[in-house]
Symmetry: C2
Subunit: 446 residues, 2 copies
């Protein structure tokens, strides 16, 4: 029983308009997934996530981080809470990463062997060990709709031989990931909810939609009712293509992954410091060797122009911390106006992605740069102090509909928490709008 993925249109350039049918709902592709690192898209309430973006459709799918959640609050706790969907009250599709990239970004705190990776927590220095089997065990406990095979991400630059050795490890780990997944996928917390709770009250009670407003719960014995009934469905597992910046290795990795037959394929190890032309080239050289009928996911990208470009090339799924992280640092995206200077951006997005402090130099720079579709505004600049315009006069998000640049600058300068919330809502809406426009382009093909 594969993952249902229907493609309605394909452009000459390879871009695809599709629908991914996951246990927690359908997702219109190409899709951008906001990152909910610790079971929360930082500073944004779930109800807002459900409403922002084009047509008020909200984010259809979000990502959560295996590494962060296993450290805190722990995947066994989340399993007991019914999985991360129920834990955070998010009823739509989710994806978890494998923890591999996060551990990779710990650099000196880790030790890689054939068996797995030993590392120290960035929170308290405690030793942990991730193997392919353990990553699967954690991801099944978390219960996202899509989970990722455990991989190693190679540093940049790396030699061909170093990259090939690392890739070999990724392939061996992918095989072990799949074997563990197939043997244990029935253990996902929500797989058994139907039986356990079939006699219980309706979804609307759990979600608080009852007429009375008050749930009227028996506080001693209350157990949440299931969010949805999953008729025998399980999670899906995606493989991750590695191969660094070497097209021959990318091809070899893609072919090996396809032989193993995953539900979808990710392209990993990009946006780690290479120039954007190279990111694009590696994606193009990998897509050639991925099957056309399965979803293709590029992990950890990118800037607004990049996500549009990659979607047009045939990438179906992307995620990135950039819109929310930039927002917390006062960097806002808006549409370019006619005549505004345009230039391409290209710097590491991921560098230092563990913890909240890591903001790459480029993202936090004082300068504002433009690109084909997006201008970056640094809201702390004095020129915005009395600017009564919204961030982006062409944006329909709730922030642009209500607040001025002057107010957002004040919130940022006064370090008011509302600033991070409003900035994040706008940047996420901006990203979701871009993908909606690309979906519209692809759907409009004759």
């Amino acid at each position: 029983m594969g993952l249902p993925f229907e493609i309605s249109k394909t452009s000459d350039a390879g871009g695809r308009r599709g629908t991914l049918r996951l246990p927690h709902g359908d997702v219109q592709t190409p899709v951008f997934m906001p990152v909910g690192t610790a079971a929360t898209v930082k500073a944004v309430p779930q109800a807002t996530l459900e409403q922002i973006g084009a047509n008020g459709a909200g984010a259809e799918m979000i990502l959560a981080n295996t590494y962060h959640l296993t450290l805190r609050p722990g995947h066994e706790l989340i399993r007991r809470m019914g999985g991360v969907h129920r834990f955070m009250s998010w009823t739509r599709p989710m994806l978890t990463d494998s923890g591999g990239f996060q551990v990779f970004s710990l650099a000196k705190l880790r030790k890689v062997t054939e068996d797995g990776v030993e590392f120290r927590s960035h929170l308290d220095g405690a030793k942990h060990f991730f193997s392919p089997e353990h990553s699967m065990e954690i991801q099944i406990a978390l219960g996202a709709d899509v989970m990722m095979a455990f991989d190693e991400c190679v540093e940049t630059p790396a030699t061909w031989q170093r990259t090939r050795d690392s890739m070999g490890l990724t392939h061996a780990w992918a095989k072990r990931s799949k074997e563990y997944f197939e043997a244990h996928k029935h253990e996902v917390p929500w797989a058994t909810l139907e039986g356990r709770h079939s006699e219980r009250s309706s979804e609307s009670q759990y979600l608080g939609l009852s007429e009375s407003g008050a749930p009227g719960l028996d506080s001693e014995t209350w157990v949440p009712t299931p969010l949805q009934i999953f008729a025998g469905r399980t999670q899906s597992l995606f493989g991750i293509v590695q191969g660094g910046m070497y097209p021959d290795l990318r091809r070899e990795s893609a072919e090996r992954m396809v032989e193993m037959e995953f539900d979808g394929y990710a392209i990993g190890g990009l946006a780690v410091g290479e120039p954007p032309e190279l990111t694009r080239e590696m994606i193009a050289r990998t897509l050639e060797f991925l099957p056309r009928d399965k979803p293709r996911y590029v992990m950890g990208v990118g800037y607004p122009d990049q996500i549009a470009e990659f979607a047009r090339m045939g990438v179906d799924m992307m995620d990135c911390v950039l819109p929310t992280r930039a927002a917390r640092h006062g960097l806002l995206f808006r549409r370019a106006e006619p005549g505004e200077e345009s230039s391409e951006s290209g710097c590491p997005i991921h560098a230092g992605s563990i913890g909240m402090g890591g903001m790459s130099e480029e993202v936090s720079s004082e300068t504002e740069t433009a690109s084909r579709t997006a201008i970056r505004m640094n809201i702390k600049r004095v020129e915005y102090a009395e600017d009564q315009r919204p961030i982006d006069p062409a944006c329909a998000c709730p922030v642009c509909q209500r607040y001025t640049r002057a107010y957002l600058r004040h919130l940022f300068m006064a370090r008011e928490p509302l600033g991070a919330t409003l900035n994040s809502i706008h940047n996420l809406a901006f990203y979701l709008d871009i993908m909606e426009r690309v979906r519209g382009e692809l759907a409009g093909l004759t």
Copy 2:
């Protein structure tokens, strides 16, 4: 042209059910006003503030701090932005304090003379000077519906003579405040909006309610349209009764203030470290000497039981940072269940109220204490780690309708910004619900 205040019912104990008709709308009294220190109720979006609480009516009136706003972003900037309502996009009534209490809490950073108070900013140490005239000038620039006479707040404990001298200063400053206000009240930013903007587009465009979703603004010349048209109305000025913990001085202060004829009367200098019985007694001994037909406002209170009690005694307006500040420290209020232990709380709420770090010992304590109507929960306690109940099963707020204690604990422990937002929303809804119940009690009188 006085401030319209209609009282529909009065209880034997003196509690009043009323309606305060302010330029930005009607307020049902008794009312609790959330504190929006720096033109934001910390961590809570304005749209949420408009919706929480009993019947989804939201907060009908909020408070902003003169001291904080004049330091950052500056009252002249806010004046140029059309006043604090428009600056923060809050269309409902607001009140500004005089800055007197905030300066009082700076303790060693201030120097009081008959002319006014010299103090150093807690932000950068820069010297500032507040006089009654300057406080009025600032508050007119901010443009809240209700502004407060400039006062001195005496330390606790203080001798009778020290308290009387300080009170004398407050009376002199109240007189100067009123004189300045009467001479300058026409300068409020929104007084002239009608004329300036009458030819411009409708309110719905500014608020983003247009059908298209996109405001379609000319980005070069766009000026916000007025939120409301104010038919010749101006702000109201309230006097502040001082007198420390001495009933005779409270009486004298009340009588002097009433002679000066303000639009309403506040009772200041309470909740500064005295036991709650004394707070209550001072309020009772002051209310006796305030006119029954004018609104009465107790500043800076209180715990949930206190706000209900004071409202039943005849207090019409209250404000307090407690629900939001406690929320950011993981302290949540919920209704007591039958049989839960009850005890009165009584500790300083205001102590150290400048800045965000100041949380009184009592509020941040590990212990949970109960009172007649409210239990305080410390969400970081391990007993909540897997607690799938909402904070308060009887609460209809959006947080209790969607999120578990387990999730809120996780957000707090992981220092996720969403935690402060959700905790604040619940605590504010809890306070608004209390006042709605008291209003219901008072309205139900025969």
